[in-house]
């Protein structure tokens, strides 16, 4: 949902339909970004003081000195398990501690020994463990080069852009610009450090204004910056959230990519503006290697990308190659943050999968959602009352469209007081929830983190009396304007606040809640309608820290506390489901995210693919976009295409703005109802596969929705694709996202691979661009030859209704006539899988035998489900089919589908899984 401010009203009425860019800062308007970006590449003023080097078994420390101002920094270097190098730089003796981001790493990362290979006057060479990797620390100027064999994998400060604004006392002369000028250049000794103070006092160091807002900056400048060079790299990805292409663009001619969680009203596409969430993780990829940079900093951050090949045409590159004169392609990246320290994790791959595991080892993996959360969600701002909810629920049954969750937006509350219900419209919430439960369905109600300032509101009174609100710069409770009017913002960075918040979800606290009620955290950037850039003042305080330090972390904490509350209310038995709009590195551990307030436009449908792919690359797999588009009203064609696309994206929820006409799936004539029904049903048949993929993501950190290059890292044709994607490694989806499309061209990767159209079972060779004619009912999806995908073909009202239904295995043979897959089954909603209560088997087809092995012999689970059918794609008709199980043999029968010339062998199997 977007903030709809009175003064924005006017703007909209004037006919402009786009973000009001003037509400958000450019780099030039953000003082530290402007300052830092003014530094140009060149000789770094920093020098490593090798004599200060200390090397223990697990870490190296070393002091750096800025020769301009003599301020000393402390460099720490760690070799972490799993091919990760951590570089930390802080002030040696800061005036006060600088913020180090807590709660994002799942633990203190385990280290590996470092050893000194060589040392001379100008540097040291350290071995990075067993592989032939070394890090070279050069002293003058300071730089770090990470090598493998003779190749440089990555260099730090090679362009001399390391900058560290040390904390300083405010000069008393600040108030008198004349006096200030006089003193400029005079060396001023700081009693405490004795450092030389040379920096000029620039505008925006001690105070900054933007529009009508002023940032008091009591601690002065504190920005940090560092550059990374990536030789041989032409493709970089990640650093969500931006409404941009999957492959990041160079930023030389515009603003850097910005990471600052903001509630952007009607966001624009294809630009580097900040959006609701921020994950400061970038992946770099070429055909040989994938690496990653994790910049652990929660303050406002800007990322510049430049490339020495960016401007070159394909012909130019070819010419370089022929002439042999080509310089190595290289991408240079530079990170700038407003406060905190430099704390970088360099993930050295070498494969994409390695980088995913490396990042997962630091921040954890995707929370394993309840199975139902992977099904279809029906949302709208707002379902008006209980009767409305009931009739929408009945509408799905009447039109035989399955759904699992119905959602309530802010209007369900009593005057935007979260944890309450409108006494007239939702007078008997438990009755309503019971009605939904009777259909084996669930509900989500919104709980936002802004709390109405109202002395008759229990939540507000408790937070106030416990002192849990964020404070303004003068020490009073911070108040901002949001949905309820004047609102306070609980300080979710406090563990005691989060514990209290979690306790509010207990059934006896959250009146009207039941076990099938789940939660949605919106506006947690946090959104403050009357704040600078629609968010909180940076000089608000969270205990010892400023909001400036923790801003990008706030949303993560809100979701964390909410998910904890859901876990606790069931005594730790049930899995939570919480959707969030704001997020940070590590948010994957707490639930799902969506791409915020998009619009009913074809370009917004298209951008949903790269936006979710980018999130998947940095660990957040449970991603989706509002199906149909939030603002405005979609054409019927767009709505149908969006359902078809959404059915193949991880989080599948339709949502709509309050002011748009109703758009439940059956409101567009029987033909379109049938098209939407078919798309949703396709989703339900594939739920076993989705579930298995999420189990895998939970276990390994691999993204569920993947760019093609992740599976085909050596095929440059895949590197920039973002109109198609993979689910797991076995399903390739190229949704139709063009208006009036008659066909799409999908790239099928893999030189020796084959792909089967899941609708026609037609076989296509890999490594080709395939033109596929489409009609309104087409969703081009391909199953990889060599894979086995389980489906449940008996689609029912909701996923819970399908729990005991049998599976059909789709065995797609590769040219070697083999295939492999997995099947994962558990109860679908509890944490009992942690207690080995599941079935996880590998399925294999080779030598005309389909067999399975238990992937986890410890695991115990019984299911009433069975395998009812095996469909083998790409085989010839067998003369005989036999079935063997341990002990008993059950009947089987086979049919070949006469209508399809290539073989579709169906074997009926009944047996224990």
């Amino acid at each position: 949902m977007a903030p709809v401010l009175a003064f924005w009203l006017v703007l909209c009425l004037s006919g402009t339909w786009a973000v009001d860019r003037g509400n958000f800062k450019t780099c030039d308007q953000s003082a530290f970004c402007k300052r830092q970006r003014a530094l140009k590449p060149g000789e770094s003023p920093y020098r490593a003081l090798l004599e200060t080097m200390e090397l223990t078994n697990t870490r190296l420390t070393l002091q750096l000195i800025n020769d301009n101002n003599k301020v000393r920094l402390l460099l720490e270097l760690y070799r972490l398990q799993g091919n990760i190098t951590r570089v930390k730089i802080n002030e040696l003796k800061p005036l006060k501690p600088r913020y180090e981001v807590p709660d994002v790493l799942i633990r203190e990362p385990p280290t590996e020994p470092l050893s000194l290979l060589s040392q001379d006057d100008n540097g040291v060479v350290l071995s990075l463990g067993a592989e032939s990797q070394r890090v070279i620390v050069s002293a003058r100027p300071f730089r770090l080069d990470i090598m493998e064999g003779r190749d440089v994998l990555m260099s730090l400060n090679s362009r001399g852009l390391l900058a560290f604004e040390h904390l300083r006392m405010r000069k008393d002369t600040q108030a008198d610009p004349e006096a200030e000028k006089k003193e400029e250049g005079d060396p001023e000794n700081q009693a405490e450090t004795g450092k030389e103070e040379e920096e000029k006092v620039e505008d925006g160091m001690w105070e900054e204004t933007f529009k009508s807002h002023s940032d008091s900056k009591p601690h002065g400048p504190s920005a940090i910056s560092l550059d990374f060079s990536l030789p041989g790299v032409e493709h970089v990805y990640g650093i969500p959230e931006h409404a941009d292409t999957l492959r990041l663009k160079t930023t030389d001619n515009g603003d850097p990519y910005r990471l600052y969680n903001l509630d952007v009203f009607q966001y624009e596409l294809y630009n580097p503006m900040a959006l609701y969430g921020a994950v400061p993780v970038m992946l770099a990829h070429n055909a040989k290697r994938t690496t990653g940079i994790f910049w652990l900093n929660a303050a406002e951050t800007w990322v510049d990308i430049s490339s020495n090949t960016a401007g070159k045409t394909v012909f130019g590159k070819m010419l370089d190659y022929v002439q042999g004169s080509s310089e190595t392609p290289q991408t240079d990246v530079r990170w700038i943050s407003e406060s905190g320290i430099i704390d970088v994790f360099i993930m050295l791959g070498p494969t994409p999968k390695d980088v995913f595991s490396q990042y997962a080892s630091l921040t954890g993996t995707q929370a394993f959602p309840p199975l139902a959360a992977l099904a279809y969600h029906q949302c709208r701002w707002n379902y008006n009352d209980q009767e409305d909810v009931q009739s929408v629920d009945a509408g799905f049954d009447e039109h035989d469209i399955p759904y699992d969750f119905i959602w309530l937006d802010i209007e369900h509350t009593d005057g935007k007081r979260y944890f309450t219900w409108d006494p007239h419209k939702f007078a008997t919430p438990k009755e309503m929830l019971q009605g939904i439960m009777d259909k084996k369905r669930k509900m989500v109600a919104i709980v936002d983190p802004h709390i109405k300032v109202d002395s008759n509101y229990k939540i507000h009174n408790e937070i106030r009396s416990r002192g849990f609100y964020i404070k303004n710069k003068d020490g009073g409770d911070y108040e901002g304007w949001c949905w309820p009017g004047s609102a306070g913002y609980p300080d979710f960075t406090r563990p005691d606040m989060r514990a209290w918040w979690a306790s509010m979800f207990a059934y006896d606290q959250y009146e009207g809640s039941m076990e099938n009620l789940y939660t949605w955290n919106d506006m947690n950037e946090p959104s403050v309608f009357n704040g600078p850039e629609v968010t909180m003042h940076k000089d608000a305080t969270h205990g010892a820290w400023e909001h400036r330090d923790v801003h990008n972390l706030y949303g993560l904490y809100v979701q964390m506390a909410t998910a904890d509350g859901q876990i606790q209310r069931s005594g730790g038995v049930e899995r939570p489901f919480v959707l969030t709009r704001a997020f940070f590195a590590g948010s994957q551990r707490y639930g799902a995210v969506w791409t915020g307030d998009n619009a009913a436009e074809w370009d917004h449908l298209k951008i949903s693919i790269p936006m979710c792919l980018s999130l998947g690359l940095v660990g957040i797999s449970f991603c989706g976009a509002d199906v149909g588009g939030f603002f405005k009203s979609p054409s019927t064609e767009l709505l149908v295409r969006w359902y078809q696309t959404g059915a193949y994206q991880p989080f599948f929820r339709a949502h709509a703005h309050l002011d748009t006409p109703r758009r439940e799936p059956w409101l567009f004539g029987p033909e379109n109802t049938a098209l939407i029904r078919d798309a949703v049903r396709q989703r339900y048949t594939l739920l076993p596969y989705w579930y298995q993929q999420f189990y895998l993501a939970y276990h390994t950190g691999q993204p569920v929705m993947r760019p093609l290059w992740v599976e085909y890292p050596q095929d440059p044709a895949t590197f920039a694709l973002d109109d198609e994607f993979l689910i797991g490694r076995d399903l390739l989806v190229h949704p139709v996202t063009e208006e009036g499309a008659r066909g799409v061209t999908a790239y099928l990767p893999g030189k020796d691979e084959v792909w089967f159209d899941v609708n026609t079972f037609q076989k296509h060779n890999g490594a080709q661009n395939l033109y596929i004619p489409v009609t309104m009912s087409s969703i081009p999806v391909f199953q990889r030859g060599g894979s086995i995908i389980p489906r449940k073909l008996r689609v029912r009202r909701s996923s819970s209704c399908m729990e005991h239904d049998p599976y059909t295995l789709y065995v797609a043979l590769n040219p070697q006539r083999t295939a492999e897959g997995e099947i994962y089954i558990d109860d679908g909603h509890t944490f009992n899988y942690e207690k080995q209560e599941f079935i996880h088997r590998r399925l294999m087809f080779a030598n005309n035998v389909l067999s399975s092995v238990n992937l986890n012999p410890e695991a115990r689970f019984t299911t009433r489900s069975w395998i009812e059918r095996v469909v083998i794609l790409g085989a010839s008709k067998p003369s005989k089919v036999t079935l063997k199980t341990a002990g008993e043999s059950k009947f089987s029968r086979q049919t070949a589908d006469r209508k399809k010339p290539f073989l579709n062998l169906v074997v009926l199997v009944r047996r224990l899984l």
């Binding site: 909209c12 008006n384 002011d659 006409p661 008996r794 689609v795 009433r864 069975w866 059950k890 047996r911």
Partner: protein
């Protein structure tokens, strides 16, 4: 686990149904499922051994081999529902843990604890059918009365119309005669004549104004209760006194002289306050003026109208009002063709304006009195004309709703439906009224067009359409608004019961579902 009991149950299931047929097969299709004989899919696509019927594996494309299991994605299951109505449900609802058939037969293996509710449902349905039938019966009788009343009313109105027209003609003749007499008598007194002409003009202007005032009163009095209220006035935001964009209740009350409502008499005082700003509904809705052709006076030749252009300019609203244009025509008649309206001089006009209106001679006074009566007729005339122009249904059975209003109070709002006029919403605890639409059209489906009314062009919504209301009419003994809702932003839905939609009920016997199985 292989489900051994499933097969067991299957065979049990087959024998448990009293009429021998596989589970989920309706009686009407029993003959296609012959025990022991090969089964041919109902679409004829293939034939399978009978033991594959209901074996929980889908063999037929059309799902016909699995009428009693959920194996086929497109199958359907037949519940007998003895005691209630038989039904087909999608086979995906078999054994899904949710009770769909009231006889519980769809949940034979899911563990769901379903109760057989068929008899109860049947009883309730019969009761409600009976109740509905009674309502329909009584409603239909009421409807017949309504139709009769409508017929009478229409005749009456037509009579009145004719009467008005006759009186008008009569009046015109008399006026004409009077004029001739007057002209003859006043011939020598040039000055006096001019004065009288002037006086006439003043009279005419006043009458015109009165006519307009009356028309506006009728229009403002949306609920036709014989008075204009604050709320009714509020619908005309152009009357906003300080033109600040919001026409408040206080302002409206101010216009009404501090009271909540005014009757026709008191309205005269109000009229002088609002006449300059008032914009007619008809102007607003830019309804074409074609129905003014109904007035015979419009047959006046064009050149006469042109002659009078100067006078018309004095009142730009002329022509918007049938009544005023009518009075205008009367004046033309009175002035007679060729009499120059522009003979007066400026000075003289000023002179006269300073003094009080010259006393009328008796004849003139008589004429004026007659004119007043005449205008009263005209208002009636206009109203009747308007009323007759509505589509009140095939037998004018909806006619009784005209000039009536019906209210429903919810927790927040008072909703008001004035059929064939408007729908509005007013906050219960103060605040101004919002128009949810004015009468648009009958909007039911083709076979039942009089079942839905549509009111359109209400107050606009931010970023949205103008408010509109759909009124669904159902048969009832009483005429009541039973519910309102806003299913989509600014699109309201109202349920309204009225005897006027009651259909002749079939005899109760034929309504009983006699095709109940068992």
């Amino acid at each position: 686990m292989y489900c051994p009991y499933l097969l067991l149950l299957l065979s049990l299931g087959v024998s448990a149904v009293e009429v021998q047929r596989p589970r989920g097969v309706p009686l009407s299709k029993r003959q296609f499922y012959e025990e022991g004989k090969p089964f041919t899919c109902l679409d004829g696509s293939r034939t399978i051994p009978f033991d594959r019927v209901n074996d929980d594996y889908c063999d037929c494309q059309d799902g016909s081999d699995e009428p009693g299991t959920a194996a086929c994605p497109n199958g359907s299951f037949h519940c007998t529902n003895a005691g209630f109505r038989p039904a087909f449900i999608p086979s995906s609802r078999i054994n899904d843990g949710i009770c769909d058939c009231c006889d519980t037969t769809d949940e034979y293996n899911s563990g769901a604890a379903c109760q057989n509710t068929c008899r109860e449902l049947g009883r309730k349905e019969r009761e409600s059918l009976q109740k509905m039938a009674e309502i329909a019966k009584e409603g239909f009788m009421l409807k017949q009365q309504l139709i009769q009343e409508a017929k009478r009313g229409l005749e009456e109105k037509k009579g009145k119309l004719a009467e008005v027209q006759t009186s008008k003609k009569d009046l015109e003749d008399k006026v004409e005669a009077l004029r001739s007499v007057k002209e003859a008598a006043e011939q020598p007194e040039k000055e006096a004549k001019e004065r009288h002409l002037k006086a006439w003009e003043a009279v005419i202007r006043k009458e015109k104004d009165m006519a307009k005032m009356a028309a506006v009163f009728l229009e403002l009095d949306a609920d036709a209760d014989g008075s204009v209220s604050v709320a009714e006035l509020l619908l005309h935001s152009e009357l906003d006194q300080d033109s600040d964009g919001t026409f408040t209740e206080t302002e409206a009350q101010g216009l009404l002289g501090g009271v909540d409502k005014v009757d026709t008499v008191a309205f005269e005082a109000v009229w002088s306050n609002i006449k300059d700003k008032y914009i007619s509904e008809e102007t607003r809705e830019s309804v074409s003026d074609t129905d003014s052709e109904q007035y015979p006076e419009d047959d006046i030749p064009e050149d006469e109208e042109e002659e009078d252009e100067d006078d018309e300019d004095e009142d730009p609203d002329d022509g918007e009002y049938k009544v005023t244009s009518l009075s205008f025509s009367i004046r033309l008649v009175l002035d007679g063709p060729g009499s120059p309206p522009t003979t007066r001089t400026q000075e003289k006009k000023d002179d006269e304006d300073e003094g009080t209106m010259p006393p009328y001679d008796q004849e003139t006074q008589n004429l004026i009195d007659r004119m007043t009566t005449f205008f009263c007729f005209l208002f009636v005339h206009r109203n009747i004309e308007k009323e007759i122009s509505f589509d009140f249904g095939p037998s004018a059975e909806f006619g009784y709703l005209y000039n009536q209003c019906y209210e429903l109070t919810t927790s927040e709002y008072i909703y008001r439906l004035c059929p064939f006029s408007r729908v509005s919403q007013k906050p219960k605890y103060g605040g101004s009224e919002t128009s949810l639409g004015t009468w648009g059209k009958w909007a039911g489906p083709d076979d039942n067009v009089y079942s839905v009314m549509k009111y359109e062009h209400g107050t606009g919504c931010w970023q949205g359409p103008n408010r509109s209301t759909t009124v669904k009419l159902t048969c009832g003994k009483e005429t009541v608004v039973t519910s309102t809702s806003e299913p989509s932003r600014c699109e309201y839905l109202m349920e309204f019961t009225t005897p006027a939609v009651c259909q002749e009920p079939p005899s109760l016997d034929s309504m009983h579902p006699d095709h109940e199985e068992l």
